[in-house]
Every structure is written in C-alpha cells, then in structure tokens.
Symmetry: C2
Subunit: 145 residues, 2 copies
DNA sequence: TATTGTTATACTCTATAACTATA
DNA sequence: TATAGTTATAGAGTATAACAATA
C-alpha cells in the first residue's frame, strides 16, 4: 500500500553509494579492531569458503597477482593463513586459513554492529525481497556461488 | 507470489559484500578511464554537491585530515578542483569543483555501465522498494543529506 | 587553549615489468 | 612457449605526531 515515491536511477545510485559506503566503513572498522586492513580482512573472508591459489585469490579480490604476495606475507606472519604446496602442480601455492584466521574473520563479521543492526530491522519477506533485488542489480555469480 | 526463499542475515551480508565489490569495481574502472584513483573520484563526487572545507571533506570521506592534503593537491594540479580562502575563518580553505572537475565526475558516473544496466532492470515499483529497504538498513543522513 | 590545514614519517595497497621455477 | 608466484620499483592511500597560523 505504500505509494511509490518515484525513485529515479540517479537517486538509487546515490543511495547505493551511501549504503555500500556505510557497509564498507563498518567492515573496515571491524577489521581495524583486529589490527587488519580491509584488504587483509577481505582476503580472510574469501578464504573462509576454502583454500585458494594465489592467482585465484588475486582474481577474486580484483587486484594484480603481485599484490597478493605482500598481503599473504603479512597474514602468514600473523599466523592467520599459511601457504601449502599444491600436489598436482608444483608451481601453485594454496593459501589456507588457520584456525586463528577463522576465528579472526568470524570475529570481524560478528562485530559489524551497524550493518547487522540495520539488517535486523527487516522481516523474512523483506530480507528475501532485498536479496532478490540486489541479486538482480549486481547479477553476480554465473557460477553456483 | 514468489515464495520467500528464507534468506538469513548471513546470506544478506554476503550479498552486500559481493554487491559492494561489483559497485566499487565499476566505479574504480570508470575513474581509471579518467586516470583518477577511487579516492580522487570519490572526492569529486562529494564536491559535486557543493564546496567543502578540507576538514569536512576528510570527515565525509572517513579518512584523516592529513590525507586530504595530498588528494586535493593532485586534483588541483590536474585543474579539477581549486582551494579558496574562506571569508569568515582565515584558517579554513574551501575546496571547489572547477567546470572541468564537474565534467569529469559526470563522465565517470555516466560510464558506470554495469551498475546502470543492473538498475535499468528494475521497474518503478522495484526501485522504490529497493530504495526504501536500503534506507531502512543503512539509516543514513540524520542531516538533510 | 582549541582548531585548521600542512608537513614529516612509516606502512600498506596498487600496477608494471622482469625474474624463477615449473608446465 | 606459457603459466604461477615472486621481486623490484614507483606512485598513491592511510594514520600518527608535530607544527604554524588563526580563532
């Protein structure tokens, strides 16, 4: 029953910018609490789904492969990840989350209070609607996810 | 009529992360086309609404005031912004977008094809719904905007 | 005294190019 | 020859601390 206040694409772009900026700020602050940069935390986040080769990691993070060396170096020095030789291809190194790395990224996610509080205001139907709309707009994951 | 596929907060957080990556990647690529970094383009974007003091700019961009000096230095060297003395307070410098700076940020926004294409798939009601939901979650701008 | 903007410093991120060790 | 990861390099972003000018 709520009328449609006639939102144009420009307004939506602006709101997306603000909303995603808020999300990023929340994530960055939560990462800083663990003395990690946003890039380091994002790397842990990607590895939360499972090990990944350096090259694949760079692809997912949308940065040059040479950057990953330094980022993984610092995470490894902190004991949050470790490099493992790949059995099949001796050129490849798989990066694996250590138990402490797992705890750290989980802690970061759990302390994104602004975002979780905002999401908590949505009921089940609203969550499904938001999920469907964002999926449409950013048409991600041609793969299974 | 579409059932609610039971989206939990974690899935929504994950989708927000993916959406942020897509939006930010689109923005960064559009900025790079103009040979600008994301931070520089974001600065132009903020100034598009009107002049701002260095301090206020740093606050909006959520970075330390000392960073703004270098960012504005580079934008000024390119002729995209200029510093102006504040009439009321001689400590303050207002940063103003030049006409070329205006054209540049408008061009960047216009070339965010992935995002605009995604938004174009939404009809008026869906745009209004997405706007309302995002506003609820990220409850922004206690100020006028 | 407090604030604005700047400088100095150190660390991180980033891309490009060149290198190595594999394939 | 092609690819995975690294190194070297240079430019840019980032925060902390200290400073000059102004309030």
């Amino acid at each position: 029953m709520p009328g449609h206040p006639r939102v144009d694409t420009g307004q939506l772009m602006e709101l997306l910018s603000v909303s995603l900026g808020a999300y990023y700020g929340d994530f960055t602050a939560a990462a800083a609490d663990q003395r990690l940069t946003a890039s380091q935390a994002k790397t842990l986040s990607v590895l939360r789904r499972g090990p990944a080769a350096m090259r694949a990691l760079a692809g997912t993070l949308a940065c040059d492969a040479s950057n990953m060396t330094g980022i993984v170096d610092r995470l490894e020095k902190r004991g949050l990840v470790r490099r493992e030789a790949s059995p099949g291809d001796r050129r490849v190194k798989n990066v694996v989350l250590t138990p402490e790395g797992e705890r750290t990224i989980d802690a970061i996610r759990a302390s994104m209070h602004a975002t979780t509080a905002g999401l908590a205001t949505l009921d089940a139907e609203e969550r499904a609607t938001l999920h469907a709309l964002l999926s449409r707009v950013f048409a991600p994951t041609p793969e299974g996810d």
